[in-house]
C-alpha cells in the first residue's frame, strides 16, 4: 500500500475518534511546504515508553493500554510501518497523553518539568515550543505552535487555570500523529531540486530509533538543525557518539528482543504440573539472560557474531539456576557462569529462553524449534502445513516415548516430509532440553537420541548444532538482512540487494563484529535513502 494512502487511512481513523485529532490531522499536512511525507512508522510500545521517559523523565507513569504491535517480515519494527491506530487504541493514547500532561503540570512536578511560571507572559508558548520540538522530533511550525496556544486559550476561556491550559496543550501534542508516528519527510536536494532527500529531522529520528530505540536527544536534534547530518563528517560524528553511548545497549535490546520474538513470551504458557519451574520470575529471567548475553557478547565484547552460537559463558541468576541446575552465589543479582567444555550446553540455542519459546505447553517440539531456527537465524521461510493435513493419524504415534519416534510420521508422509525434513532434524538435536529448557537424557523412560542434520551436515547433539550454525554462511547473512530490515522498517529488501551484499562483505571483513555492522548501516546511504517509490518529486 502506498505510504500516502496509509497516512491518509491513519489520519481518517484518528479524525473520527476525538476532537484533538483534528489538530493532529492538520499538523501532518501543515508542514507540507516544500516537504513531503514519505513514511509513517507507529511508535512501538517500547519506543513510546522510552520517548516519554527521555523527554519528561523516568518518574512519569503511563496509564493506559497499548495496542499490540504487529509483526511483518519477521519483525515488529517492520510492522510498525504498516500499522495504524484503531479508535479504541487512539482512546488509550488519549488517556496516556492526559495522564502524562497531568503529571507534568502537577504541583509536585512543576519545578522539574516547567522552566517558567505559566502565569508569566509567553511561558505557555515557551513550554509548548520546548516539549513540542522534542515530541515531534523537529521544531514546531508556526501553525502547530498556534494550534496548541489556541487550545490553552480555549481552556482558560472556559474557566481553566494556566496549569490546566498547559496540560491540555501538552496533551494535544502527545496525541498528535507527529508524536505517535515517526513521520518521515523528504525535501528537494538544494543542488538538484528534482531529487529528494530525507530531511535532517527525519534522519535524526531514523538514527536515534535505530540505535537507541528512542527519540533523538538534544545534541542530535542540534546536529540536524545545523545540517550536520547531510555531511559525511557530521553524520559520522553523531553515529560514533550514539554507538559509544550507554544508551546503545538498551536500544539494541529492542532489536534483539524483536529478532528473537520475545514479545511472544507474554502469551507463553506451560503445564504447571509438568514444568513447575516455569514461574513468571523464571520466564522473565530467561529473556533477560539472553538479552544480557547478546549485549555482553555483541556490544561489550564486540566479539564475533558467529561465536554467539558456541559461547559457553552466560549470565545467571538464582531463578535460572533452578532451570540449569547450577549454583548461583549472588542471591539478588546476575553473575557470570561458564558451562564446562565437556558440558551439555553451549551457545545461544541452548539457552532456556529460546528452548521454552519454541516448545509446546506440555512438551518440547523439534518441529517448532527447527522452524524458529530456520526463520530467525537463517532468514528462511517454511510454508505453513497444508490445509488438508490429517492430525488424527498422529494418535498412533502419540504413544511412542520419544519425539524422534513420534515425528516418524513426518518423514513417512510425503506431504509432510517436504517441509519437516527442513525442521525436525535440526530440532531433534535439542531434544535433551525439555519444554522449558531443562536438561534431560530420557523422555518417558527412553534414552533420547540427539542426532540430527542441518543442510546436509550430520550433527550429534545441540553443541554440534551450535558449531554448525557458527560456521554456516547463512547465519551472518541473515543477521545483516534482519538488522537492515529493522533499521529501515522495510518489509522488502529486494531493491537493496547491492547494499546487502556490501554490508555482508563489510561484516565479514570486520570479523562479524556487530558494532561494526551497526556503524556500516548507520553511516550508509541506504539507511537514509528515500523509499524507492517516493524518490521523484511530485
Amino acid at each position: 500500500m502506498p505510504v500516502l494512502h496509509r497516512v491518509k487511512r491513519s489520519l481518517i481513523l484518528l479524525g473520527v475518534c476525538l476532537p484533538l485529532s483534528q489538530t493532529a490531522l492538520s499538523s501532518v499536512e501543515a508542514s507540507a511546504d516544500n516537504q513531503r511525507v514519505v513514511g509513517m512508522k507507529r511508535l512501538t510500545e517500547s519506543q513510546y515508553r522510552n520517548s516519554v521517559a527521555d523527554i519528561f523523565g523516568h518518574s512519569i507513569e503511563l496509564y493506559g493500554r497499548f495496542e499490540p504491535d504487529y509483526r511483518q517480515a519477521r519483525l515488529l519494527a517492520v510492522g510498525s510501518a504498516v500499522t495504524s491506530v484503531s479508535p479504541s487504541g487512539y482512546e488509550q493514547y488519549d488517556i496516556m497523553a492526559r495522564g502524562i500532561a497531568k503529571q507534568v503540570v502537577a504541583e509536585e512536578g512543576r519545578e522539574q518539568f516547567l522552566s517558567c511560571d505559566p502565569l508569566a507572559d509567553a511561558c505557555i508558548d515557551e513550554v509548548i515550543q520546548h516539549y513540542g520540538s522534542q515530541l515531534f522530533r523537529r521544531p514546531l511550525s508556526r501553525a502547530e505552535q498556534d494550534q496548541r496556544v489556541a487550545v490553552a486559550e480555549e481552556v482558560m476561556a472556559k474557566g481553566g487555570d494556566h496549569y490546566q491550559a498547559l496540560e491540555y496543550a501538552l496533551a494535544s501534542l502527545l496525541v498528535s500523529p507527529e508524536f505517535l508516528f515517526r513521520v518521515e519527510r523528504v525535501e528537494p536536494v538544494p543542488e538538484h531540486p528534482d531529487e529528494a532527500r530525507l530531511t535532517a529531522w527525519s534522519r535524526a529520528s531514523r538514527l536515534s530509533y535505530f540505535l537507541w530505540n528512542s527519540t533523538p536527544d538534544a545534541e542530535l536534534l542540534a546536529a540536524a538543525e545545523r545540517g550536520d547530518l547531510y555531511t559525511r563528517q557530521g553524520l559520522e560524528a553523531q553515529v560514533h557518539r550514539l554507538l559509544e553511548s550507554p544508551r546503545l545497549e538498551p536500544g539494541m535490546r529492542a532489536f534483539f528482543a524483536d529478532m528473537l520474538r520475545f514479545d511472544t513470551f507474554d502469551e507463553l504458557s506451560k503445564d504447571a504440573a509438568l514444568y513447575p519451574v516455569f514461574t513468571a520470575e523464571v520466564a522473565e529471567a530467561m529473556q533477560e539472560q539472553t538479552l544480557l548475553t547478546m549485549n555482553e557478547h555483541l556490544l561489550q565484547e564486540n566479539a564475533s557474531y558467529r561465536e554467539l552460537f558456541t559461547r559457553r559463558a552466560m549470565p545467571m541468576n538464582r531463578a535460572l539456576g533452578m532451570v540449569y541446575a547450577v549454583p548461583v552465589q549472588s542471591s539478588d543479582d546476575w553473575e557470570p557462569y561458564e558451562f564446562a567444555e565437556e558440558g551439555n550446553r553451549a551457545g545461544l540455542l541452548s539457552q532456556a529462553s529460546l528452548l521454552s519459546l519454541r516448545a509446546h505447553a506440555g512438551s518440547s517440539s523439534p518441529t517448532l524449534r527447527g522452524l524458529y531456527l530456520r526463520e530467525t537465524f537463517l532468514c528462511q521461510t517454511i510454508p505453513p502445513p497444508p490445509a488438508d493435513v490429517d492430525f488424527t493419524l498422529d494418535e498412533a504415534f502419540a504413544k511412542l516415548p520419544t519425539a524422534r519416534e513420534r515425528l516418524l510420521r513426518h518423514r513417512k508422509e510425503s506431504t509432510c516430509a517436504a517441509c519437516h525434513h527442513l525442521m525436525d532434524p535440526i530440532g531433534l538435536t535439542l531434544e535433551q532440553f525439555d519444554g522449558v529448557g531443562m536438561f534431560r537424557t530420557r523422555e518417558n523412560g527412553a534414552l533420547i537420541d540427539t542426532r540430527g542434520e542441518l543442510d546436509g551436515r550430520q550433527l550429534g547433539d545441540a553443541k554440534a548444532l551450535g558449531q554448525a550454525l557458527s560456521e554456516h554462511d547463512g547465519v551472518p547473512a541473515c543477521l545483516v538482512d534482519t538488522l537492515l530490515r529493522y533499521a529501515l522498517s522495510a518489509p522488502d529488501l529486494r531493491h537493496q540487494r547491492r547494499a546487502l551484499d556490501s554490508l555482508q562483505q563489510a561484516f565479514s571483513d570486520s570479523g562479524y563484529r556487530f558494532r561494526d555492522l551497526l556503524w556500516q548501516i548507520a553511516t550508509s546511504e541506504t539507511f537514509y535513502a528515500v523509499p524507492e517509490s517516493q524518490g521523484a518529486s511530485s
Partner: protein
Amino acid sequence: MRTGIALRLLRAGAMLAGLAAGAVQAETLGFVLSSFTMVTPGAGPEDCPEGFNKGYSERFLDSLPASERQRYAENQGLLYQAQAPWYYENPEEDPCANPGAFPDPGMYTIDGPLSLQRMEPDGSLSQRSAPPAQCPATDDFTALAEGRAIDNQYWRVMGCVRGYQPTGQAAAFANSFIFDGSTTMLLEVDMPENGADGPVALRIASSDQPVSLGTDGQPLPWRSFNTVAQERFHNSATGVREGKVIATGPFDLRLIRAAQRLDSELYLRDARLRLEIDPDSGEASGYLAGYWDLEWLAHASIRIQDRTGRSSGKPAADTHGYTCPGKYYALQRLADGHPDPASGNCTSISVLHSLRAVPAFVLDRKSTKPEQADPAQ
C-alpha cells in the same frame, strides 16, 4: 573445617545436574527441606480414655451453668471476648509466657503401652509396643547414648490433643513455615565416591532465604541458598551409607525455627538422621529423631514468642485444645532425656520428625554477627 566448601560445591554442580539425569556419582549432595513434620500418628481408640484435652474456651464453657453455656457457645465473638486477654502486656500474668508460675490444670497424655515408631541406634525405625519411657539416671543416659533407641515421647504428650490428630490444625498447617519462607533448612551430604557404601559426612544449616515455590505450589529443586552467618545454626554429623540408606550417629542440632508469630530455635540433642536418596529424582526423604530441649521446646511450642518477646501461646493452645501450664507440666513428667545431674529431672524429650528434601545448592556465608542463644530471652 568449612574452607573450600563453596569451591567444592561449584565443582559438584555439574555432577549434581547429572544426578537428576540418572548418574550416581557425586561428591557432595545438597538439599533444602521441602517437608519437616513431627510424626503424630493419631490417637488410637484406647489411647485417650478420658477423651481429648480442652483449651481455654472449652474449659470456660464447661465452667458455666448449662443455661449460660448456650449463649457463649453460639457466639464466638462473645466467647473470645470472655477469654481476653489473649495477649498479655505483663508476661508474668500470661499462663503461656510463664507456664511454670501457674498450677498444673492437668493434661491427658497417652500413658499406656503404645506401639509407636522409634529410631533404633542403627537408624532403622521400629514399632514395638512399650510403656512410656522413664527419665533415666544421669549415668545411664550418658552411658547408653550410643545404643539407645530414641522414642517419640512427645507424641505421648500431644497424643490426646485434638489439634495434633491427623485431621487437626497441626497437620493442616504442616510445612507452612517452609512454604511461607519463615524457615529454611539445608542439608549437605558428602557421599562416598563411586556410589559405594561407607562413611558420610553431613552438614545441616539454616538459611534466611526462602524456598522458591513452583507453579505446582511445591518447593523447587536446584535453588541456591546461602547458609546463615551464625555458626550455631551450622551443624555437622557423621554417618554411614549402606545401600540406599544413610544413617548418622548422634549429633546436636540447632536450627532457626520461625513461623508467622514465632522466632525460635529447634534444639535437638543426641539427634540421629536417617536418609534415603532417590537416584532418579535426586530427592531425599527420611526421619530425624532426637531429644528436644525442654526450654527451647517451651519457647517454640508453649510460649510461641516472636522477636519482641510477645507470646502467641494462648490462642495457639486454644486452637489446638490444651492449656499452656498443662502442656508444660506434662512435658516435665514425660521428659526422657538428658537428666539434670543436680535435680535428676530430665531436660529433654524424645521426638521423631519425618522429612523430605529436594536437591539444592548450599553456599556458605561468613559469620558476621555475634552469637546469641538464650531460650529464656
